[in-house]
């Protein structure tokens, strides 16, 4: 086992070392994107962009992007524009309107892969470090599907709408309906957003989750369930989603199936675990079906630290 980890770490170290010596692998080749800009050069300090694009630049100025750009690249406007639209000398000095129009990288005309590469010039780190090869990358999504950088449409993260959920619901329409279910997390109320649990830019976890596992993600808010205890409930320790549907449910506690039937999918022990709780027993066996059902008694179902808690009752 130790040999396996050592081999992986050496491999990672080698890759990083190799990357340090490979020039320009992550840089944008503007001439390849737009041949008209092949011989164009950066124009540096100019305010000419305002002559035609005043409205867009004004709105862009309200974004955190603009503020960071100015601090990073200086107050010269073109230095900012050129970071995403390529060197602009041909665009500003073209002999005809058509020439000028053709001599700039417009996000309306370039493929998804190029759009993303332009953004990743600065963002290939932190939350977006694992974008390449991620589910959304392979699905052909571009950064601009969810983010709009030319105005401040949302309070944070430059989403396309003030409501961050709308970015996700463009494709995940089924989730929009799940949020309306009676048992739900406070997503539709705005206290959580999809990105509270998911990192849509990819990562080491399943289902684009922020944590390395489903449980690691859940423990970010439910720390009390992280503690190791004497009596572990194995499926609970392994995967919260064995029993819960975090996106919404018709049952208490986001359960996937109502108790006792949920528990009986795995438990068929002597007496009550194997009993058929049908409609005729709603009164006579109500202790297994009413109130908190199985957890009327087995209330420490996530695990117990009590010496008498082997059945998760203490």
């Amino acid at each position: 086992m130790i040999k396996k980890y050592t081999a992986i770490l050496i491999f990672v170290a080698l890759m990083i070392s190799l990357g340090s010596f490979v020039a320009n692998a992550g840089e944008v080749d503007w001439g390849a994107i737009n041949p008209k800009q092949k011989n164009a050069s950066s124009v540096g300090d100019t305010k000419e962009c305002f002559l035609c694009h005043q409205e867009y630049i004004d709105s862009f100025g309200r974004t955190k992007h603009a503020k960071i750009f100015q601090a990073k690249y200086g107050k010269e406007l073109a230095g900012t524009c050129e970071k995403c639209h390529g060197p602009l000398s041909a665009h500003l000095n073209g002999p005809t309107r058509e020439e000028r129009y053709a001599s700039v990288v417009s996000f309306k005309k370039i493929p998804t892969e190029i759009k993303n590469k332009i953004c990743l010039q600065c963002h290939e780190k932190g939350l977006t470090m694992h974008w390449a090869g991620s589910t959304h990358d392979r699905s052909g999504l571009s950064c601009t599907n969810c983010h709009y950088v030319m105005d401040r449409m949302s309070r944070q993260k430059l989403y396309i709408d003030e409501d961050p959920k709308k970015a996700c619901f463009q494709c995940h329409q089924g989730m929009r309906a799940k949020m309306m279910k009676t048992s739900h997390m406070p997503v539709r109320e705005g206290k959580l957003e999809c990105a509270s649990c998911h990192n849509p830019h990819g990562g080491p976890g399943p289902s684009l989750l922020k944590g390395t596992t489903i449980n690691d993600t859940c423990y970010n808010c439910h720390q009390e369930k992280r503690a190791p205890v004497i009596w572990e409930h194995a499926p609970v320790r392994e995967n919260c989603a064995n029993c819960h549907d975090p996106h919404g449910s018709n049952f208490d506690k986001l359960l996937k199936v109502r108790m006792p039937y949920l528990c009986q999918q795995c438990h068929s022990g002597n007496f009550h675990p194997s009993t058929m709780y049908d409609g005729s027993k709603v009164v006579s066996s109500a202790q297994f079906m009413r109130g908190k059902a199985c957890t009327n008694c087995h209330s420490l179902i996530h695990g117990s630290n009590h010496p008498s808690g082997s059945f998760f009752q203490r």
Partner: protein, 762 residues
């Protein structure tokens, strides 16, 4: 306490804000003296010189400040209506403050301040100050309530403490039916999380250093099932659990960023402290005088993680994550039963520890870029290893049955040994995609997963999964994708004795040599065949109309599970229509149908009926069917040259859950369960009028109507003795009709020439 925290945090925020204000005010005043507009000093607006017009980021204060007031009217006091905002009153007024302000200086120093729902229980405040591309401080306060039940009643005195007593006149008895309850106390169930955060980060060259701290308190009342005695004859009561928990978390990070390689190290610590280690209660049953139930133990968690990425030629990128963590818990153990000696325990503390090791490596590449045919072939490969190492010692516990008397005999089936469960997961994912025609891509994928578990009936499961898909974007007339998945999970021989032998020490006598039916396979380790289809189509018949349909279907078959879950499927279909003829009008309509089906088998057997465990006439089947309909329709329109906007939306959601049965002859003819239903209508209208560039007036109205039926809770009260062996807490009948009316005024500092959201996206 919460209000004090908000006030305290606000003071901190304004302290920082004031620190920047003198510079700002002095510079603004200087501008005014030089011919600028004095109003810019008063309201933080910007001067309008040509030079300023040509600056990307204008110095000064910009943003919005909103004050509003509203009224809530509901037909009943409803915690369901105000579940996450606290607007639970039958007739209630409220005030809300909201701001989103940013002060920027020409030298890149800035201060951002945001607040939401000041005045409500779900308030949030955020503050950030620093210098762009250099350093920043952050501070925040976030309050999240959950109002669970306003109709609960308890037999106990002392709700809100960890010691619950019975009122005078309470008559204990051996069973619930004989207990006499003289009175009950109303008890509201709700809890709140108050999170305070602080952070600092600093950029030095290509390195970024960060530290973040979070302090969160959780207080309130929840419901908790609690039992005294144990099989046979255990009786339960639902307690109002007093919750008092504290979480402190610290994260320290160091990141190095370069065009071609990035690396980041994180240390994360989470300390969970439960101030209520247990709840004790006076038993309403004569079998046992008192009960004690443990609460989640205090614990600590430490995680070290390393993330890195490197770009190589041929559009190749390698990323990886290595993570090591440990969760520790060493609380003192409670005695076996209330009032007994801890000297009877085999160990005094838990000494529980789980370590986790995670390693993942991802690679993506277009390796044939110089080939004419395969230059756009995109390949990805991922390897992931995750493993837990549970170091909790194995101990044999000999409890006191029924919470009274002596310890059970060493041969009793109640003697139990803990099993420090572990698992490891190794996954390999390979994917390829290739453009076959213009913007049409075909993709193929293969996944393999090896799961290894200790103390489970199956020690190894291996799953192979094949994936295929097509996505296309046809000249902006239509776009769509369809994806298929087939997975087959096969495990080692299902061996119940692994778990049974681990739990029951040698020499103990049990009714059966197994804990479960011998032919049952637990769903998470059972052999499984999985099929998934996902389809998404969008059609743009004109530039103003979008039609979409989305369908997801998944089915899991557990063909080798004679008992347990045998079949599970789910599907959802959504139709969307969007009509937007111009920038002043947008109409939308959607409908989603969702259906989930589960089929499970079992056999009713009892140790006092010999042979019952082999009697097929005692078999039974339960079929669960959950059906949901969700409809949404809305319009957003602008009038009067966009001075006035109206945003309306209606959504309706209905859920019906049914369970039907089939049974063998011994069990008789079963009856289906009563349906569990829920439905919600919600109508929302928001009007905004831009009175001037600086002032916007708002008027909102929300109507909600909620209806549900649930046999578990409806008409269940603590005093009815209606349930065998359990005294309930809740009469949770959350039906309501509620209205909210809200007026607001927003002042825009440094009002933009084109307001946010009105500009066409390019």
């Amino acid at each position: 306490m919460t209000r004090l925290k908000v006030i305290g945090l606000s003071l901190i925020i304004f302290f920082f804000a004031l620190a920047g204000f003198p510079v700002f005010a002095a510079e603004q005043a200087k501008d005014a003296e030089e011919g600028g507009d004095i109003s810019s000093v008063l309201v933080g607006g910007t001067t309008s010189s040509k030079e300023d017009d040509e600056r990307l980021v204008k110095e000064g204060l910009v943003g919005d400040f909103t004050l509003g007031a509203g009224v809530v009217g509901t037909n009943v006091r409803s915690f369901k209506f105000g579940e996450y905002n606290g607007l639970t009153g039958k007739s209630q007024g409220f005030a809300v403050g909201d701001f989103d302000l940013s002060y920027n200086r020409d030298d890149f120093y800035y201060t951002d301040m945001q607040a939401e729902n000041l005045g409500l229980d779900n308030r949030k405040v955020y503050f950030e100050a620093g210098k762009y591309n250099d350093f920043k401080f952050t501070a925040g306060f976030d309050q999240t309530p959950q109002f669970t039940s306003s109709t609960s009643q308890t037999i106990f005195n002392g709700a809100g403490t960890t010691s619950l007593t019975l009122p005078s006149g309470f008559t204990k008895a051996a069973s619930t039916a004989l207990v006499r309850i003289p009175s009950v106390n109303n008890v509201d169930l709700s809890d709140t999380r108050d999170a305070t955060t602080f952070g600092f980060s600093k950029i030095v060259g290509n390195e970024e250093y960060g530290v973040n701290f979070k302090h969160e308190t959780r207080t309130g009342l929840k419901s908790l099932g609690a039992i005294v005695g144990a099989s046979p004859g255990g009786s339960a009561v639902i307690l109002p659990e007093f919750m008092d928990q504290v979480v402190n978390e610290l994260q320290v990070s160091v990141a190095h960023g370069h065009d071609n390689h990035q690396i980041r190290f994180d240390y994360f610590m989470s300390m969970f402290d439960n101030n209520n280690k247990s709840i004790t209660w006076e038993s309403p049953y004569t079998t046992t005088p008192n009960g004690l139930i443990s609460r989640p133990p205090s614990s600590q968690f430490h995680r070290f993680s390393l993330n890195g990425g490197v770009n190589l030629p041929y559009a190749t990128r390698i990323t990886g994550t290595a993570e090591y963590s440990m969760a520790l818990q060493n609380e003192d153990l409670f005695p076996y039963a209330f009032g007994t000696s801890t000297a009877l325990l085999p160990t005094s503390t838990a000494n529980a520890e789980i370590q986790t090791v995670h390693v993942s490596l991802n690679g993506s590449s277009k390796p044939f870029q110089e080939s004419t045919i395969f230059k756009d072939l995109f390949l990805t490969a991922k390897y992931r290893h995750h493993q837990t190492i549970n170091n909790t010692p194995i101990t044999t516990f000999t409890p006191i049955v029924n919470d009274t008397g002596a310890q059970v005999a060493a041969t009793s089936s109640d003697v139990a040994r803990n099993s420090p469960f572990d698992y490891s997961q190794d996954q390999l994912k390979l994917d390829a995609s290739y453009p076959v025609y213009k913007a049409t891509y075909v993709s193929l994928g293969y996944d393999s997963e090896l799961m290894q578990r200790s103390y489970r009936e199956v020690s190894k499961t291996f799953e192979n999964t094949l994936r295929a898909g097509v996505r296309s974007n046809l000249d902006q007339i239509a776009s769509g994708n369809v994806n298929f998945l087939y997975g087959d999970k096969i495990g080692d021989r299902y061996n119940q004795s692994t778990v049974f032998d681990a739990r029951h020490p040698a020499g103990t006598v049990t009714s059966f040599p197994f804990d479960n039916l011998t032919q049952m396979q637990r769903l998470d380790i059972a052999n499984r065949e999985r099929k998934k289809v996902a389809t998404n189509l969008s059609y743009f018949p004109t530039s103003s109309v979008t039609l979409g349909i989305n369908h997801n279907y998944m089915v899991d078959d557990y063909k080798q599970s004679v008992f347990g879950l045998s079949h599970q499927s789910s599907q959802d279909v959504t139709g969307d229509i969007n009509y937007s003829p111009d920038q002043s009008l947008n109409l939308f309509l959607f409908y989603t149908y969702e259906n989930g089906v589960a089929e499970q088998f079992s056999r009713n057997y009892q140790s006092n009926i010999p042979g019952s465990d082999f009697d097929p006439n005692r078999n039974w089947t339960a079929n669960s069917n959950n059906i949901f309909h969700t409809i949404g329709v809305g319009a957003k329109a602008y009038f009067m040259q966009k001075k006035f906007s109206l945003d309306t939306k209606y959504t309706y959601s209905q859920g019906v859950s049914q369970v039907g049965f089939a049974a063998g002859s011994v069990l008789g003819t079963p009856l289906g369960m009563p349906d569990v239903t829920s439905q919600i209508h919600r109508f929302e209208a928001k009007g905004k009028y831009n009175y001037s560039r600086e002032i916007t007036l708002g008027l909102s109205y929300i109507y909600e109507n909620y209806r549900s039926t649930d046999f578990a809770y409806d008409n269940a009260t603590a005093a009815t003795n209606s349930v065998n062996s359990v005294i309930l807490l809740s009469n949770s009948n959350p039906n309501y009709s509620g209205h909210i009316g809200f007026v607001s005024a927003t002042y825009h500092f440094g009002a933009p020439k084109a307001s946010s959201g009105e500009q066409e996206q390019k």
